[in-house]
Amino acid sequence: MSTDKPHKKRDIFIDGPIDPAFVAESIAKHATRTDIGGHEIFLGQVRADMAGGTGGGSSARTTAIDYTAYRDMANEQMTPIREEAFARWPITCLHVYHSQGVIKAGELCFFVFASAAHRQAAREAVAYVTDEVKKRLPIFGKEIIADGGHQWKSNT
């Protein structure tokens, strides 16, 4: 049963891609929570960008991102983000997962899931938590390029 408290500390990291079946199971686990009226989900998927961005010399695409993290710090930094979300919106639960390791283009790497009595709270909480995780958690991404090279992803 999901009865997450804002202070609950947990490991957000999953080794490898996030299985769509895991997303489905996560939704199914909330069937007993009849106080919930809406779920909101954000799923991040690895995109096959052109390497080097605009003006880059390469014409090869990103084939995967190899994610690493300062795992202890990331999990600790998740606690205040979770507390902020519960303080600002009347959500019943919040789940966040991020991949570690090599995630191929087309696979899921990031899963943010909030539930609430009404849709607005769940929507706004997911948007906030998604942005804050990207800004505040020490997660690093090495973009593997089809020509054999790599470059480092940056959210800033």
């Binding site: 690493t68 710090m73 930094q77 991020h98 790497c109 998604t130 995780v133 990207k134 997660i139």
Partner: protein, 74 residues
């Protein structure tokens, strides 16, 4: 003290950790930049005990210290 390295910084250093002596975060920054080619030109943060720290923060050598390149989650 042992300094944890991540992402592009670990790649530049060719190591997951380096050992430096420093009494403040500023000294740590200077020592790390002297040790790792290209670090001075990079944008990075220093974490002390898993929080982003200012240069003025004093270190007693028992902290958990890390150099963090730009974040890329999501």
């Amino acid at each position: 003290m042992e300094v944890k390295l991540f992402g592009m910084i670990a790649e530049k250093a060719g190591a997951e950790t380096i050992a430096v002596a420093a009494g403040t975060v500023r000294e740590l920054r200077q020592a790390a930049e002297a040790r790792i080619d290209g670090l001075a030109a990079m944008s990075y943060a220093i974490a002390v005990d898993r929080r982003i720290a200012d240069d003025a923060l004093k270190l007693d050598g028992n902290e958990e210290v890390a150099l963090l390149p730009p974040f890329a989650g999501g």
